[in-house]
Amino acid sequence: MMKRHQCFRVLARHITDEIVVATYSSAVDWLDLGERTLNYFSVGAMGLDSSHALGLALGRPDRRVICLQGDGSLLMNLGCLVTIAAAAPRNLVHFVVQNGTYEANGAHPIPQPHVDFAAMARAAGFAHVHDFADLANFEQQAGHVVRLSGPVFVTLRVEPSRPLTYDYPRLYDPARREALKAALRPGGQRRG
């Protein structure tokens, strides 16, 4: 089975000026790959990462938005799949990283670790839906998937990760949020 940080390394090869929304464990692994202004770690409430991402996608239709959401987080906001599909932003790629656990809260299992999120997204009306459990397959497809006209939904089936250190003050540094706002407002910088 894949590991989240392996998947993110693959994904990062295809990321240039996209806004990347990541929270909790996904944010820790994504930030390990390097600082970039266009990372959005402003969360405030579990489950809302996908809603933040939708707002960004609607606010900047000229820029692609990549959401890296955990499975526990998506379960807290399943309705977002319907909302996103209805709003139909072409520039949104919504990943769920499915490790079957609430990793940042003691690694307890989610209620149904094998729930089929891709089927839910397909039923909600996403334009494209993918489901990856094999790293070689994801490596082959990742560049294509993040360039599709959205909304795109992608499940990454991964194993629970090594223990992580959650440096929340660093992740949620207000200076990081201000830099992102400055970059996204009219006249802001263009590159990640």
């Binding site: 809302l48 990462d49 309705g79």
Partner: protein, 180 residues
């Protein structure tokens, strides 16, 4: 007549939806994020849904509005969350984190379901309405009661202040607005 519209025969019109919508437009709001609320359904949401000025995003649950509004704000876009007070109560953690702790201008227009507009919300016979103002006060969220046409003048300054101060605001709709 739709069940969500104020009837002239039944009730004197004291709050016009058209005036509220004009104030929302004057505030620079482009996006309306909403779960339907019977208080504001006929007088606000239906005309907003027909109004090309706005992009209406219908969400499944009110806390989604808070996240979407945050993302829009990062891009310099103004949004209004049009929800019912029950949805506000359901979204308290999102409002706590995204709006209050991150000091973001999340603007909420909140219908007070089954409220008696002749009473102050604090004195409402409805428990859910009665606790609204104490909760907003405890969270440090500015709030204004929009109960009569004269109150509509509060809307634009409240939204402008929210963006200038980067702080949330709650506009409490105390009675059903008429659609015109």
């Amino acid at each position: 007549m739709d069940a969500d519209l104020v009837s002239d025969a039944e009730e004197e019109i004291r709050l016009k939806g058209a005036g509220i919508i004009a104030a929302i437009k004057e505030s620079g709001v482009e996006f309306i994020l909403s779960v339907p609320d019977i208080v504001t359904s006929g007088g606000l949401l239906r005309p907003i849904a027909r109004d090309a000025h706005f992009r209406l995003i219908r969400v499944c649950k009110e806390d989604e509005c808070i996240g979407i509004a945050s993302g829009l704000h990062y891009c310099g876009k103004r949004a209004l969350c049009l929800i019912q007070h029950t949805g506000f109560l359901d979204s308290l953690n999102a409002i706590r984190g995204v709006a209050v702790e991150y000091a973001q201008p999340i603007c909420m227009m909140i219908g007070l379901l089954q409220h008696d507009p002749e009473k102050a919300p604090r004195d409402s016979p409805r428990y859910g309405v009665r606790i609204m103002v104490p909760i907003l006060d405890a969270m440090g969220i500015a709030h204004h009661l929009i109960n009569e046409d004269a109150d509509v003048a509060l809307i634009r300054p409240a939204i402008e202040h929210a963006y200038a101060a980067s702080a949330p605001v709650a506009l409490l709709i105390g009675r059903r607005p008429s659609p015109s």
